[in-house]
Symmetry: C2
Subunit: 193 residues, 2 copies
DNA sequence: GCTTTATTAGTTAGTATTAACTAACTTTGT
DNA sequence: ACAAAGTTAGTTAATACTAACTAATAAAGC
């Protein structure tokens, strides 16, 4: 396994702290308190704080990747895959808002080169997955072909991200799933052949 | 005037610091060093650091607003306005990347309620401007009407923001203006009636 | 089977460093 | 003369991390 049980405890607690008040809330002190042991104990499980953050990113990258690949394996058309992905993501985010902070943490790590690169690589990977889905959709005839897959992926991911950002900034005061439906009905019109 | 000359110096220096290494690089120590005076001198011009950050946000909000309204006043069609706006923004960002960090600073202030609200209000305002431009475009017949202005604004702003984010995470290693052109040619197809 | 030896996972009590900010004093410009 | 703008030299609080130690459990040797 990638992580021990105790490491998973720590990742979970860290997720909660970040979800509550952002990355600045993730201090060794708060994290130890959240788990219920001493600060020093953290260092029995991770070399340092950066490794903790890095592990959080890895953990959720894998988690989301697994579900996405499940959806992609389905034998539906490209456009239906996009619909299912948007549905899954918005549902996941609204049921566990803490994840948003992590999945959208790009700006938080600007001072650390390694973390910043890790975040970039995750974003690139996601973009490639979407591009492949779109390409298949263009081939199966469900998605328009007069716009390149790269641009469609940007449009898809960008509008999705902005919607989630607005939700977060509004303190989650609208129904994200509903907004996701509305967004999708617009995107479907844009994507369809 | 909204700010004294010295306050403008401080805003400029702060912008530079944030642009270089993100918001975590904006410390009173670094800021004072950048300007070339002591830390304590900062407090002759601003009550505290939060007021400095808040002023930076205000400053660039106004700056961008002014140019945007200039573009909107033009008697061109809605779709042409969008094209000019995207051209202006991408040009502005690539010639002064530091501004990106500030304009896209949403995630950085999650721990501070007041700043977080200010950022949200700026985003809302921008969205409204885009919605108005799109609405006019729908009325003048240059923009499709089967998708609501709110969704088109989300698509427009979202894809624009994601492109800029990718550029930043890649350490500006592609031509943003060129990428902006490519994005626009895709968006134009999507928006046009 | 039972003692010795390691390991794991925790503790307490610190460290050095850095952050934002302030009080008291000095210089400068009009 | 005096207000504005600067300085020096600090304060307080927080941060990531470490040293030294311990109880409990597991492994090894005879």
């Amino acid at each position: 396994m990638k992580f021990t049980n105790r490491q998973l405890d720590i990742i979970q607690a860290a997720t909660k702290l970040i979800g509550e008040k952002g990355i600045q809330n993730l201090t060794t002190k708060n994290l130890a308190a959240e788990i219920g042991f001493s600060e020093a104990a953290l260092y029995r499980h991770f070399k340092n704080k950066n490794v903790i953050i890095s592990s959080i990113l890895e953990y959720y990258k894998d988690e989301i990747k697994d579900v996405m690949f499940g959806i992609i394996q389905d034998s539906t058309t490209g456009i239906l895959k996009l619909e299912k992905i948007i549905e899954f993501l918005f549902n996941r985010f609204s049921s566990n808002p803490a994840i948003i902070m992590i999945v959208f943490a790009e700006t938080s790590f600007q001072n650390d080169i390694q973390l910043s690169e890790q975040v970039h690589s995750i974003l690139k990977q996601k973009k490639m997955v979407f591009e492949q889905v779109i390409l298949k959709g263009q081939n199966d005839g469900s998605i328009r072909m007069d716009i390149q897959k790269e641009q469609l992926a940007t449009i898809f991911m960008g509008s999705l991200r902005l919607t989630v950002l607005r939700w977060r900034l509004s303190n989650m005061n609208f129904d994200l799933n509903k907004e996701g439906d509305i967004l999708w009905s617009a995107l479907a019109k844009v994507f369809i052949k």
